[in-house]
Symmetry: C2
Subunit: 275 residues, 2 copies
């Protein structure tokens, strides 16, 4: 795995796509910001990059998919099912990171849309049967991503069925200052990550903030060690770490204690409930 | 609103019920820990209280429901629909806090069970049509609740359709050292709180910790001010604050900035996407 990846952002002209493009460019990656309209993508990139000298290019979605090592889906939810079938060819068996939050809004505030596949990410997996789909970056506030002077204060929960793909995306998350990649398990967890965005959007609206979330009691040493185990052995030693100084640690967990709680697996319930 | 409430914990003999009983007892409330078997409840309370001199009693579920000012549901999910219809009478129009996480477990780990009403809390609301149901405390680790020497490091997200009921439960959450009550909006958000427990249980299992979650960038001054606005005016000035020293603050949000992100309501989308 080289230190520099080429990252394609499909549907990347919205706030989330622009923010991720900027952060991945600052982390030293080459970014292909894709749009249905390559001219619009080029204009947005010119504005985004300014005189920063970052390797970000605005291109059409198919070129972003074909030219990338891994691909982010940052469409609005309604666009995903329309656009993906035509991109399945150039995407092939790449790692695909679905950032899409299928949210609606009514007089009670934000709510999660019904997705027959269970989540936007599982819909993408159904439309891209060869790709290794993971769900991640739902809770990274676009306003914070867009401002390189600010920390993006959130844990990036990464769900997917391919451990090496999860490991790669966890490593990418750690490269954004203030973000911590946290393994959230199989792809079926995506619905809960997407659903929790509705909670955060409601909290943002109520409190006028750009919130994220932190998993408490998750120590960084253990987190990094377990995340690294997901990646196949690499000559380069992994992606370059750029965010360590910016991440506020939380105290280490409690080594030796049992991990399950609440919904322990049945065979552990008696032990968990103890005296 | 008196400083001391009588809190009924229905199905309170499990780890979550025992932990909440202990913490509410330590906060100065009177607790009725209910079980189908009053003798079992009394035995568990004797062990839990020891020589602490806390006002916790073990009783039958109907007595806990009838004698309480507000009621917690801490059943296993399968028990809730069986037991609640018989308790609707004594519960009446009280505030009901549903802590139930409808989780299953298979070879991929924890997963959320299908609940026709949308969530365990909405099921409770359907079975208790007069009660003011809120969903809360899903992410407070029983192992931490059970140990008064430790902080329960989590934000307690509170969802419900009755603002005064939400406000009361937010205030209760603030009384447990390490917990912060955060308004999570209407009751339909309960499904996302319950679903996120599956994510946390998986993280616990993987990392061998007792995790919770924190909403980042949510400043305590703003949080407390908005929470207090949910409560009707009271002579006593609200429940006594006991946890302030134990809560680690997060930096204040960004006053004056727009709050929405990701799924902005349609009328704000253009403004939100602006350069």
């Amino acid at each position: 795995m080289p230190d520099q990846l080429t990252i394609g952002l499909l549907g990347g002209t919205g706030p989330q796509g622009r923010g991720l493009a900027l952060r991945f460019g600052l982390a030293g990656h080459r970014v292909l910001l894709g749009s249905r309209d390559p001219g619009r993508a080029a204009g947005i990139v010119a504005e985004l990059v300014g005189d920063r000298g970052l390797a970000i290019e605005g291109v059409g979605n198919p070129d972003a998919a074909a030219g990338a090592d891994l691909v982010f889906l940052v469409f609005p939810f309604v666009g995903q099912a329309e656009v993906l079938p035509d991109l399945a060819g150039p995407i092939g068996d790449k790692v695909v990171v679905d950032v899409v939050n299928p949210l609606g809004w009514d007089d009670q505030g934000p709510y999660l849309l019904e997705v027959p596949e269970g989540s936007a990410a599982e819909q993408a997996a159904a439309l891209l049967p060869r790709a290794r789909v993971v769900a991640a970056f739902h809770h990274a506030a676009p306003r914070l991503l867009a401002d390189p002077e600010r920390q993006v204060e959130t844990d990036v929960l990464v769900a997917g069925d391919d451990p090496a793909a999860r490991g790669l995306v966890l490593e990418l998350a750690d490269q954004i200052p203030g973000c911590r990649g946290v393994d959230a398990g199989p792809l079926r967890m995506a619905r809960h990550l997407e659903g929790f965005t509705a909670v955060i959007v409601g909290i943002n609206r109520r409190h006028k903030i750009h919130a994220g979330l932190r998993i408490s009691r998750l120590g960084d040493d253990k987190r990094r060690r377990l995340n690294a185990e997901l990646r196949p052995a690499r000559g380069s030693g992994g992606l370059k770490e750029r965010s360590a100084g910016g991440v506020r640690g939380t105290p280490e967990g409690c080594p030796g204690e049992s991990s399950a709680r609440g919904a322990s697996p049945p065979e552990n319930r008696d032990r968990e409930e103890g005296p």
